[in-house]
């Protein structure tokens, strides 16, 4: 068993962290309320860039795990972050924060939906918010790409893998499990070999 060369959260230097379960709950509720068309990019902006509970690298690594596990990736991420700071109660609190208020909202929307679905203003507003969300998610991806500089893999390999992944998922609409297993597996094997040397 070797010790990690990187400082881990919880060691001296005291990186920012959630202060209490209610801090965790409120933080995840606010995250969820800002996430239209997906919460993940909001997590990157709020928890990494603003609150600094996670570094870019930790976020990417946690997300890799969240993505490969069954369940919605942002739900998995909330379980992992909550669990890291407060154990099982933390995981459940983060999950509850993520789901409780949005659930009430989405059910209210469902009740209103039949009445207003045909309104062009509502449809337009939803279109506008989706476009903003697309911009937000794209920025999150570009910002995280900077963290690849610290990958054991050469930058050119990382860019090549990411580019192939984008073509497969966005343009060719490949099923996600194949991309994760195939391309992700390739990345893992290459990294494993680089870590040996």
């Amino acid at each position: 068993m070797t010790t990690s060369p990187h400082p881990q959260p919880g060691e001296p230097g005291a990186p920012p962290r959630p202060q209490s379960l209610s801090d965790l709950f409120i933080s995840f509720t606010l995250l969820a309320l800002q996430g239209f068309g997906g919460v993940l990019a909001v997590v990157q902006r709020e928890l990494v860039e603003r609150k600094r509970w996670l570094t870019q690298e930790e976020f990417i690594e946690d997300w890799a795990v969240a993505q490969i596990m069954p369940g919605p990736n942002v739900v998995n991420l909330s379980l992992m972050i909550g669990g890291r700071y407060f154990g099982l109660p933390g995981a459940m609190t983060a999950l509850a924060g993520l789901l409780a208020l949005p659930l009430v909202l989405v059910l209210s929307l469902a009740v209103l939906h039949d009445r207003f679905a045909d309104s062009p203003q509502v449809a337009g507003a939803l279109r506008g918010m989706a476009a903003v969300s697309a911009g937000l998610i794209g920025v999150a991806g570009l910002r995280l790409a900077a963290a690849l500089k610290r990958s054991p893999l050469p930058m050119s390999w990382c860019v090549a893998i990411a580019a192939v992944g984008f073509v497969l998922v966005a343009l060719l609409k490949c099923p996600l499990p194949y991309v994760l297993l195939g391309l992700g597996g390739l990345g893992c094997v290459l990294t494993w070999r680089r870590l040996a040397s």
Binding site: A130, A162, G165
Partner: protein, 195 residues
């Protein structure tokens, strides 16, 4: 103008609810990439096989959950809601939400929590480090793909919407302005018919 909406009047027995619950438990264990990746199987089960949900309700559930704030998995809650409504009451609808959400969340939560704890305890193992760092480029590709897909599905990819996406991205990149303001601006532009 308004299409003739199909309506369903169901009488669900306890065995049906149990069947529904069991099916969502099963789907949860297979939901790698999120619950949305099992939505075609949900469609087969709820709409085609059991006729518990109409096609309109199925589509609306996914679209509404995308449009509303919060994790997209809430489309599952909306499906449960509509199955319950079809069975006759708001009480049944709330019960449907409970059945579907607990079903879709429980197995994946247990698996992920357990695996993540193991991974964190063993984070210095070469295999664990290789997995996490090796997946990073694919993770970034997925984020960019999501942006692309969301951007092109919003209104068929008209240039003004793309421009809005890029402008919003620039604001978010350069400033620490709260996201809700940017979202509100997008909603306003859309509601006024400018984009």
């Amino acid at each position: 103008m308004s299409p003739a909406h199909e309506t369903l009047h169901l009488a669900l027995a306890w065995s049906d609810w149990l069947n529904l619950f069991g099916h969502f438990l099963l789907l949860s264990t297979m939901s790698i990439g999120g619950a949305i990746s099992t939505s075609s199987e949900m469609h087969r089960f709820l709409v085609e096989q059991h006729h518990w949900l109409t096609q309109d309700q199925f589509n609306a559930a996914i679209a509404l959950a995308q449009a509303a704030p919060g994790p997209n998995v809430l489309f599952v809650a909306l499906m449960g809601w509509h199955v319950g409504l079809n069975a006759g009451s708001v009480g049944a609808a709330l019960f449907g939400v409970l059945v579907c959400m607990v079903g879709i969340m429980t197995p994946s939560t247990v698996i992920t929590y357990t695996a993540a704890r193991w991974g964190h305890r063993n984070r210095d193992l070469r295999a664990v480090r290789a997995f996490k760092q090796g997946m990073a480029p694919v993770v970034i590709a997925l984020l960019l793909s999501t942006a692309w897909i969301l951007g092109s599905s919003a209104g068929g990819g008209q240039w003004r919407l793309w421009l809005l996406s890029i402008a919003a991205g620039a604001v978010i990149w350069r400033t620490r302005l709260h996201l809700l303001w940017v979202l509100a601006a997008g909603a306003l532009l859309g509601a006024l018919g400018i984009v």
